[in-house]
């Protein structure tokens, strides 16, 4: 090699070393850090996210498109109405709801549960409070779909489980109740300072209210198993009676959405395609002179209360003059209307049902019923006179005839605006009765006119988690909307 060549190589090496020096690997490391987010967080911020998601879920499409129709509360316009025809061609929406319910509440609450059970950041109280939220999150998913991934569900990040196995609804429900019992024991004796003092959107860290809340949710879950496992249900209900429950509207679990455009029902009512209240609801309220009529329903352009019939076929809907019908009431659909998870009224009415079913104690049932009804009326700031008037009507007390139905119908009304719970309530108790659709102007859908009983597993879930979901279908029954979930066995 000539000196010339050596000279060239020396220059080259020097240049490359110089170049490498200015752009070393450390610099690449700096660029790996995401400047748009943080890598650690106080679990309180995730807890608030999960709680808010739970409230927001009461206005999502599971309510707006599906359970609001199935519960015969209202009829939405345009595409939102189609589920009212009992069809099942909603693959995308089924997947969105499935993903949405896990992605909102479960994703964040699972992270909280993980953080608060880690040895270095362990906090029993926070864990117990978060567990109540997790229970409500999972309960809604299993009520909607039946069997769902539960023990392995929501563990994509914490355990890297991408194809979670499904659990039976029976297992899920019993475990949820067990979790609530454990949470109640912890919350009962805990020091509030260990909770979420500045970041509890529901009760502002009031542990008494939290205990009532957890116990009331336990009662709801227990009563849901009334027909599927009566003995177990009875036993849990009696446990619930030993602890404080929600008793007045001060105990209600509600939230006012102050972010963004506020309560979604405001947007639905004022935007296209709008929402019109159902003929069935208006008829019930009108026939009984229920003062809540003007709360739940707006008068139409002529000052009358005119409802939309649920389930009209396309031709009948086309000529129904939908736009002229009564809107959802302002109290339910203002920007600052309250969103509810569970109310004292519902709890009283569940207790009335339990007293009748498990204790056969009509007097006690009536007492609970009257408390429930009065609490339900007071929830809407009606004037004293109209409350008293209504309490004096036959609706005001149990008369020993069709008491179950009366409790059932009042529970249906008391659940407003938690429409999803209303649908679950109808499925469980059969009240109010939703007759099979036979009239020629009604759509029969894929259920031959019978009220749908669940949402479908989406084709995406069937593809992404095939083995597990097929196993669930083999236990539960065909992936159809008229396949009943486990607790839905009453004729």
């Amino acid at each position: 090699m000539t000196t010339n060549h050596r000279f060239i190589i020396r220059i080259l090496v020097a240049l490359i070393i110089a170049f490498t020096g200015v752009s070393c690997d450390d610099h690449l490391d700096d660029l790996r850090e995401n400047p748009n987010a943080v890598t650690s967080i106080d679990d309180a911020a995730l807890f608030t996210k999960a709680v808010r998601s739970l409230f927001q879920g009461t206005t999502d499409q599971s309510a707006y498109r599906f359970s609001g129709h199935y519960g015969h509360y209202f009829v939405a316009g345009s595409t939102a109405r189609i589920p009212d025809q009992y069809g099942d061609g909603f693959d995308g929406q089924y997947n969105d709801m499935f993903t949405g319910m896990y992605g909102g509440v479960i994703r964040h609450i699972e992270e909280v549960l993980q953080i608060t059970s880690n040895t270095e950041s362990k906090n029993e109280l926070r864990y117990a409070m978060a567990d109540v939220i997790a229970v409500l999150g999972y309960a809604k998913i299993t009520d909607a779909f039946g069997e769902i991934p539960y023990t392995e569900g929501g563990k994509g990040k914490s355990a890297d489980i991408l194809q979670p196995k499904y659990d039976t609804q029976e297992f899920i429900y019993k475990d949820l109740i067990d979790r609530l019992s454990k949470s109640i024991q912890v919350i009962k004796t805990a020091d509030p300072a260990m909770g979420y003092p500045d970041s509890d959107p529901i009760f502002n860290n009031n542990l008494n209210l939290w205990m009532r809340f957890a116990n009331s949710v336990r009662l709801r879950l227990a009563m849901r198993l009334r027909f599927a496992d009566t003995e177990f249900s009875r036993q849990v209900v009696s446990q619930c009676a030993n602890e404080p429950l929600m008793e007045s509207n001060d105990h209600n679990a509600f939230m006012i959405e102050t972010e963004g455009n506020g309560n979604n029902w405001f947007t639905y009512r004022t935007g296209f395609p709008s929402i019109k209240m159902s003929a069935k609801l208006i008829e019930q309220l009108q026939q009984t002179n229920d003062p809540r009529l003007s709360v739940f329903v707006e008068p139409d352009g002529n000052g009358a209360y005119t409802g939309m019939t649920n389930g009209l076929n396309d031709a009948a809907f086309g000529s129904s003059n939908f736009a002229a019908k009564s809107d959802m009431g302002i109290a339910l659909s203002s920007k600052d209307s309250e969103l509810y998870l569970i109310t004292a009224a519902e709890v009283w009415l569940l207790r009335a049902e339990a007293a009748l079913a498990y204790d056969n104690d009509v007097a006690r049932a009536d007492e609970f019923y009257r408390s429930g009804l009065e609490t339900a009326l007071r929830q809407w700031e009606l004037d004293e006179a109209s409350i008293n008037d209504f309490m004096a009507t036959p609706q005001g007390s149990l008369l020993g005839v069709n008491d179950e139905e009366q409790i059932g119908v009042q529970t249906w009304l008391a659940l407003i605006p938690n429409y999803f719970e209303g649908w679950s309530h109808i499925r469980r108790t059969g009240y109010p009765e939703i007759p099979q659709r036979t009239a020629p102007d009604l759509a029969k859908g894929v259920t031959n006119g019978i009220l749908p009983k669940r949402f479908l597993y989406s084709s995406f879930e069937l593809s992404a988690n095939n083995n597990n979901v097929m196993e669930a279908i083999s236990r539960q029954g065909d992936n159809k909307i008229d396949t009943a979930v486990w607790w839905d066995i009453k004729d």
Binding site: H27, R32, A44, K157, N465
Partner: protein, 1026 residues
């Protein structure tokens, strides 16, 4: 090749002589007759030689009668002239224009002889992009280059284009080729709206000024692009801009274009039935207007026969069809561009300065573009061995009111196409706002605006400033060795505001809205390259060694608000509810590379590339990757000494390469986002829905290609053929996961795509005489992108959806397969009809693919003396798309396809599902369309064939002859009449342009949704050199 022929011809005519004498003469440039300074004049076969003086004169002594003089000058064709005893020789040299075609720009801006390349490269001359000028330079390449697929959407005056080289290779990436301008890789994002609306803000390529382009090299395969490592996986488009050259005269050039744009393709609307439903008018509501809710605001009413009725405004009117609303609503647009450039070149250096001003208006009159480009480029020799070169381009543009697209409430084409056929457009224009300031419309649907309300009350302003520049130094260490260092930047600052007035339910429930997005995107690339040349016997060797660092730094700030305080004031302080966010994305890539080229005997060439990339987007332990390529080229005609005039040129080539691709930043870290809240007293954080991967590695793509180039009759027939295969595996993608994981997707390496294709380019000169020349060319591309596998257990990845139709990647199928619901059918394919006479939804099936069976272009040019006429026809055969626009129009009853069965009832073809007999039960035509399209979401009737033959370009040019310009300052001048996208010779989709997409992503051609009318442009181009 032409040169060889010329030399041979001259030799043939040389005559032998013996006596010695002196020869003097003048060397001029052919055509311009400028004296050439410093031309080498040499007696062939001797050392006797001289050079011309400043006036072009030369003098040589001791010449024999039969000597041949060789005149050579850089940039000109070498000429040999036999002395033949003459004492005075005047010689004119021709500019080496044709020869330039044979030198192509390859990766890292290395200029190479095309003969030596083992892969396919297409090079486009500047005249192909700056005569029939397009705002987006890429559109000018459509139909001209095999393997390159350009889809130009009608999304406004500054719309984006889909650019794909050799098909799709990666499932979740952009698949857009790397664009390198003068050695500096620049931004190349796609643009467009979503199916829910938005506007197309253009892509980064529309910022390249066609008037500054000297040439464009298209490096199609990985073999060509391997030197770019992870950036070059989707091919590379190398743009070389003009540098200063020596021009005759004072060096000033003008290029002016003016063009009209007009709408020419609009949907076929019916003119028989007006507003209403079930063949009847809507009931009249309390306010005296008809019920404006669905279905009454559709065009399913009575036949329009001039009867009296109450129109949508509640006024008595005559029920008559109102013609094509598109024609009345859209106007002719225009574009004007003027470029002036100053250039020069001397022994010490060169410079070029240019300024371009472009102004345009779209077919929506308030959609305008104003763009100015300033460009300065210079080079100088600081010493014999040190060259410095630099360039700065500054561009500033302002686009106003890019039209809203797809399902956007302000999409004027959507509103016009759905307007019941009896509604007078002037009524719509005259009634936009009521006394309370609320929008007046013919329907209650908040998802649509009154088009004139939208025109007057919504808008956007898109401002962009872009700086591109580089600085480079080349040090010639000695004759064989040089080092080039270069640093260059592409820096974009954008500022986008959009707004909607109060009073429309479609705009934030009547509150009005405002958004302001600003950001900057910077790519800074620095590299160094050492080059060493040596000859060892018959071997010529060139070796390069280099390194580069690429730094990307993008940041954005968005603010938006709603509920305006005062009207017609668009500034964030005017909004009661305000929101904002910001983000930063950074990425760095360190690279080291070596290239070697080896040639033997001028007929065998071999080259290899090796590159190592380290990317910050990959985990630290996995971030270093190697890429390589090997290419070979053999000129077998030269090897075998074949020199027949019939078969004059033959080359075979082959290439193998392995390249890769990194990913977008921050996919390897688990994080928490802090939610933006305004009212809450506590903090809310959320976890992103995509699970990160901690062991990500780059995608790898292995590809090979073989090809041949064959020339016949002195290249009057030239064929270039390529076959290639590419397989890309370990694709980085966020695979969707079961919702029960609580997450939407997880970033993984999974799945592979294989591409196979053939490319054929065929050029011929069927006729050539002294005054007349006919060029004819054809290019053909067949490219298949097949999804080989996805992540284990995953059946499909949905790339995009529109209504119920999706475009997907499924194993075993083509990338971009369209899935939608078919009719319910029996085993014989007959539709199963209910007792009510309605069809039903069947299975979700493969309805076609976005990929054409083949595509190509056909170009021809006739030149007679100073006049030339050129035409370019593009052809696409096969490929499908879904037209949601047609679906909408059909069930709203405005499309001509909604006519059958209006009065007699629609009898669906098929068999009764219960009886098995032919269906004879009529159903209401409106219910039929509503049921099929809307309720059952059956897409079968709106899946359209994208095959088309389009007259893409027509150019008539006149070059002013020297005679005409004599005595003026003008050295050269040409005037051209040009037309672009003039018409369809054939369009299988009839009234819909298959290119009418609303975005420019890789799968965007799957969907059409109520696009703006397709436009044609025609205009004039004038070039003058002083």
């Amino acid at each position: 090749m032409n040169k060889l022929f010329l030399q041979g011809a001259i030799l043939l005519f040389s005559v032998m002589t013996f006596a010695q004498h002196t020869v003097s003469g003048l060397v001029l440039e052919k055509d311009t007759n400028t004296p050439l300074v410093g031309v080498a004049v040499q007696v062939k076969g001797t050392n006797n030689g001289t050079a011309t003086a400043f006036d072009g004169q030369f003098k040589l002594e001791g010449i024999q009668k039969n000597d041949v003089l060789v005149f050579s000058y850089l940039g000109y064709e070498t000429k040999e002239v036999a002395v033949e005893g003459k004492e005075n020789l005047n010689v004119s040299l021709t500019l080496q224009a044709e020869e330039m075609d044979e030198v192509v720009v390859t990766a890292l801006n290395i200029q190479r002889d095309k003969e030596s390349l083992g892969y396919s490269v297409s090079q486009i001359k500047s005249s192909e992009v700056n005569v029939a000028r397009e705002n987006n330079v890429m559109n000018s390449l459509s139909g001209k280059v095999s393997g390159l697929q350009i889809t130009q959407s009608n999304t406004g005056v500054n719309g984006s284009s889909r650019v794909l080289l050799r098909g799709v290779t990666t499932i979740s990436g952009s698949n857009r080729p790397l664009v390198v301008v003068d050695g500096i890789p620049i931004n190349n994002g796609s643009g467009g709206a979503s199916s829910w609306g938005g506007v197309d803000r253009g892509d980064d390529l529309s910022d390249i000024n066609p008037d500054d382009v000297a040439s464009i090299s298209v490096l199609k395969g990985a073999g060509a692009a391997a030197a770019y490592g992870s950036l070059g996986m989707n091919g590379v488009i190398l743009i070389t801009t003009k540098s200063g050259t020596k021009l005759k005269g004072i060096g000033i050039s003008l290029n002016s274009s003016f063009a009209f744009t007009e709408a020419y393709l609009t949907p076929d609307l019916q003119n028989e039935y007006g507003t209403g439903a079930f063949g009847s008018f809507a009931p009249i509501a309390a306010d005296g207007r008809p019920v404006l809710d669905y279905p009454y605001s559709w065009s399913w009413g009575p036949r329009m026969e001039g009867q009296e009725y109450t129109n949508w405004l509640g006024r008595p009117d005559t029920f008559l069809p109102q013609g094509n609303p598109y024609e009345a609503f859209y106007s002719d647009g225009y574009s004007v561009s003027n470029t002036i450039s100053f250039e020069g070149k001397s022994e010490k250096g060169s410079f070029r300065l240019s300024i371009t001003d472009e102004d345009g208006q779209g077919i929506i009159s308030n959609n305008t573009l104003s763009k100015q480009t300033f460009n300065i480029r210079g080079a100088t020799k600081l010493s014999e061995r040190l060259n410095i070169e630099g360039k700065m381009t500054y561009l500033t543009s302002e686009t106003l009111n890019s039209p809203q697209l797809a399902e956007g409430a302000g999409n004027t084409a959507l509103q016009l196409s759905l307007m019941p056929r009896d509604i007078r457009l002037s009524d719509v224009a005259d009634n936009t706002v009521d006394a309370n300031g609320n929008e007046i419309k013919w329907n209650l649907d908040n998802t649509f605006n009154n088009p004139y309300w939208a025109l007057e009350n919504t808008g956007n302003i898109d401002k962009r400033d872009r700086f591109q520049g580089f600085l480079s130094a080349k040090w010639d260490v000695n004759d064989d060795f040089n080092i080039t260092a270069k640093t260059g930047m592409d820096y974009i600052v954008f500022d986008f505001t959009s707004f909607g007035a109060r009073g429309s339910q479609a705009v934030q429930n009547g509150l009005g809205n405002y958004a302001h997005n600003t950001g900057k995107e910077r790519i800074w690339n620095s590299d160094i390259l050492a080059t060493y040349n040596t000859n060892i016997g018959e071997f010529k060797i060139t070796a390069n060694l280099g390194a580069s660092y690429r730094d990307e730094n993008n940041s954005y700030v968005n603010i938006w608000g709603n509920d305006s305080k005062v009207s017609n004031f668009y500034q964030i302080n005017n909004y009661k509810n305000t929101f904002n966010d910001e983000s930063v994305y950074r990425k760095g890539v360190n690279s080291y590379y070596g290239l070697a080229q080896l040639s033997y005997g001028g007929f065998l060439y071999f080259d290899a590339t090796l590159r190592n990339d380290n990317s910050s987007t990959l985990p630290k332990d996995n971030d270093s990757y190697w890429y390589h390529s090997e290419n070979m080229s053999l000129l077998f005609t030269k090897l075998l000494g074949m020199d027949s005039k019939v078969f004059n040129y033959g080359k075979i080539r082959g290439s193998y390469a392995r390249v890769g691709n990194d990913t977008s930043p921050y996919r390897t870290q688990a994080v928490y986002d802090i939610d933006q809240t305004v009212t809450l007293p506590y903090t809310v954080a959320s976890i992103p829905g995509s699970l990160p991967s901690f062991d990500l590695k780059p995608e790898t793509s292995n590809s090979w290609e073989v090809g041949t180039e064959l020339g016949f009759f002195n290249n009057r027939i030239f064929i270039d053929f390529t076959y290639y295969e590419t397989k890309t595996k370990d694709q980085i993608m966020a695979v969707p996961v079961s919702g029960a994981t609580a997450y939407n997707s997880k970033v993984v390496n999974a799945g592979s795509i294989s591409n196979k294709g053939i490319e054929l380019q065929f050029n011929t000169i069927p006729l050539e005489t002294k005054d007349f020349k006919w060029d004819l060319g054809f290019n053909f591309t067949k490219s298949d992108s097949k999804v080989e596998s996805l992540n284990e257990g995953l059946e499909s990845i949905t790339l995009n959806t529109l209504w119920s139709v999706s475009v997907e990647a499924r194993p075993g199928e083509e990338f971009g397969t369209i899935y939608g619901y078919d009719f319910k059918r029996d085993n014989f394919g007959r539709k199963l009809i209910t007792d009510q006479g309605l069809a039903q939804r069947g299975d979700r099936i493969n309805m076609g693919s976005i990929n054409p069976d083949w595509y190509g272009g056909f170009n021809t040019k006739f030149t007679y003396k100073n006049i030339s006429l050129g035409a370019l026809v593009s052809i696409q055969q096969g490929g499908e798309f879904y037209s949601y626009g047609r679906a909408y129009r059909t069930f709203f009853g405005t499309d001509v396809r909604s006519l059958p069965g209006r009065e007699t009832g629609f009898i669906e073809e098929g068999i009764n599902e219960n009886t098995g007999f032919q269906n004879e039960t009529p159903t209401d035509a409106m219910l039929r369309q509503y049921n099929n399209i809307f309720v059952s979401e059956i897409a079968s009737e709106q899946i359209l064939d994208a095959s088309n033959v389009k007259l893409r370009e027509l150019t008539l040019s006149y070059n002013f002859s020297e005679k005409m310009l004599q005595g003026t300052f003008i050295q050269r001048a040409s005037l051209s009449a040009v037309g672009r996208n003039l018409l369809f010779f054939y369009n299988a989709a009839e009234d819909i342009d298959p290119e009418a997409t609303y975005s420019s992503g890789p799968a965007s051609t799957a969907f059409e949704h109520s696009s703006l009318p397709s436009t044609r442009t025609y205009g004039l181009n004038l070039k003058i050199d002083f």
